[in-house]
Symmetry: C2
Subunit: 316 residues, 2 copies
């Protein structure tokens, strides 16, 4: 039976659909490939924002109000660090710190990011495979009017204010695709490859920039389907809409579909958005893509998988 699903995702937005997929599928039927282009060292700690967002979402630890980080978080560390004259532009919750300290410790003793992630997931009771796109460093950079900026400098420190012109993924050309991610994409029984509603430019493109992964997706016989991160001309979270506008593109799901056009066969737009102009090789589907509740996540997961199933056999 053709039954494995691979999902590509970034942080918070994508993690919601990833969570829905974990509820819609048995654990061994899903592999999540997660963006690590946002990873950076800060205060001597290795921080993997998207891996953390995915882990927290899957473990039920994500803060539902703030939209990032852990629930029941405290901030004593940040206050004390401020008192010591430390760098406080990147908010680190006390519970969240445990993830960074533990990850950094294990990486320093020679474990791979994949191995560390697997250990953390096991401890948190996450059964599905959560795979960093690569164990090698890939670093997203943003070209703005002020020149090239490191991602977190742009995203957190400058709060996405500089207008973007281009993106680069330093290290992506030589980064080796994470082996299990590659193996999952090469499976004969692959049911679908889902691109979660993450930011196309800074969450999904870094994954696709890892040469082995893009090639494996292209070579796969399974349908590739993306879910819109744009609803009614707006991004639910993050700078996707702002970036589309700054790049001179339409702020719509259709524009995101065109961005992925050489890779996807299906695209899920929001049920309330108008059906886009036809796009060669891409079938549009409509679904309720706003995920406020766990039920919304599961419903969108089923809708996406159903859509993908209708595309089966459309690939060469």
């Amino acid at each position: 039976m053709s039954d494995h699903v691979v999902a590509l995702c970034g942080g918070v937005g994508g993690a919601k659909l990833a969570h829905g997929l974990t509820l819609a599928l048995p654990p061994d039927a899903l592999s999540l490939i997660v963006n690590t282009g946002d990873d950076f060292r800060h205060l001597g700690l290795h921080i993997s924002p998207d891996l953390d967002s995915v882990m927290y979402a899957l473990a039920g630890l994500a803060d539902p109000v703030r939209g990032w980080g852990r629930r029941e978080e405290t901030w004593t560390f940040m206050q004390a660090l401020k008192g010591l004259g430390g760098d406080t532009w990147f908010q680190l919750g006390d519970g969240d710190l445990a993830t960074h300290v533990e990850r950094t410790r294990r990486l320093a003793q020679g474990d791979s990011l994949s191995a560390v992630t697997a250990e953390l997931c096991r401890a948190l009771g996450i059964a599905v495979r959560v795979l960093p796109m690569s164990d090698d460093a890939v670093r997203t950079r943003v070209l703005s009017g002020d020149g090239w900026l490191d991602f977190q400098e742009y995203f957190v420190h400058r709060q996405c204010q500089p207008a973007v012109r281009d993106f680069a993924f330093a290290g992506a050309d030589t980064a080796r695709a994470q082996p299990e991610a590659l193996a999952a994409l090469h499976r004969d029984d692959l049911r679908a490859i889902v691109i979660c509603p993450s930011n196309p430019f800074v969450s999904v493109d870094p994954i696709l920039a890892v040469a082995g992964l893009r090639a494996a997706i292209r070579a796969s016989g399974a349908p590739v389907i993306a879910v819109t991160p744009i609803i009614g001309g707006k991004a639910i979270k993050g700078p996707a809409a702002k970036m589309l506008a700054e790049l001179g593109l339409e702020v719509s799901g259709a524009a995101v579909a065109r961005h992925y056009a050489d890779l996807i066969q299906g695209f899920v737009i929001d049920a309330l958005d108008p059906l886009p102009e036809p796009l060669r090789g891409v079938t549009f589907f409509r679904a309720a893509t706003l995920m406020r509740t766990t039920e919304d996540r599961v419903r969108l997961a089923y809708a996406t998988l159903q859509a993908a199933d209708t595309l089966r056999g459309t690939r060469a």
Copy 2:
């Protein structure tokens, strides 16, 4: 005018008198030389328990109830770390973590422990010089019935349960004395060298094991005076009394005075303890040595300095 005081101290107990001395003297009249034999790496962080205790005491940040760590502390990090399967035998408060993370970060960028300590003190508004005994690693080890144990293994993990037989200070023979500490001990205008009521075996002896420091103390013309960490046959805090008993020594201030006999000219016992048998070359003084309040700390500081002043000129 002969006006500089050097105080040697370890953690919590010694830090209380150190705090009293900072209130009894102008900031530039006092140098604190602090034990770093307890320092260790844990979770990838450089932890300096005695430097931290001293800094927190001087900055008014010490927790008065728990007796260690910071006041208004939270413990979210430890709870989260437990959930991740991390090492939780060493309690790290969320605010305390900021010190360890910031120190580790600065050491990793090549700053010395002295420089980092000076920066942290400056940020915390501590005007007096807080000097690690050495910028080189000295590691206290404890010989027990179970063999040699690293200090924190003995002190925290095994909660001082193994009976002690001997102590070693790995690295002390090659460690260079901290230069400002050495310079302070070499001052012509040195008024007194105070050994704070810290554990003689694991807080003060590591400082004295740094060859340059012991030699400078011996060579100094200033009176050396120690304050008892034992009151009424008990240690106020920590394993000093237990250690004296396990080493077959009397559990008394007098026994601590004998331990320091080759180095001191004065020893302050508690006002409620009987005056010890005479000890050649050592004058005993009595004072209220229990420090419950800030006023107690200041009073004991003045009493110790006054006692030292009466010893002036008793040295060759």
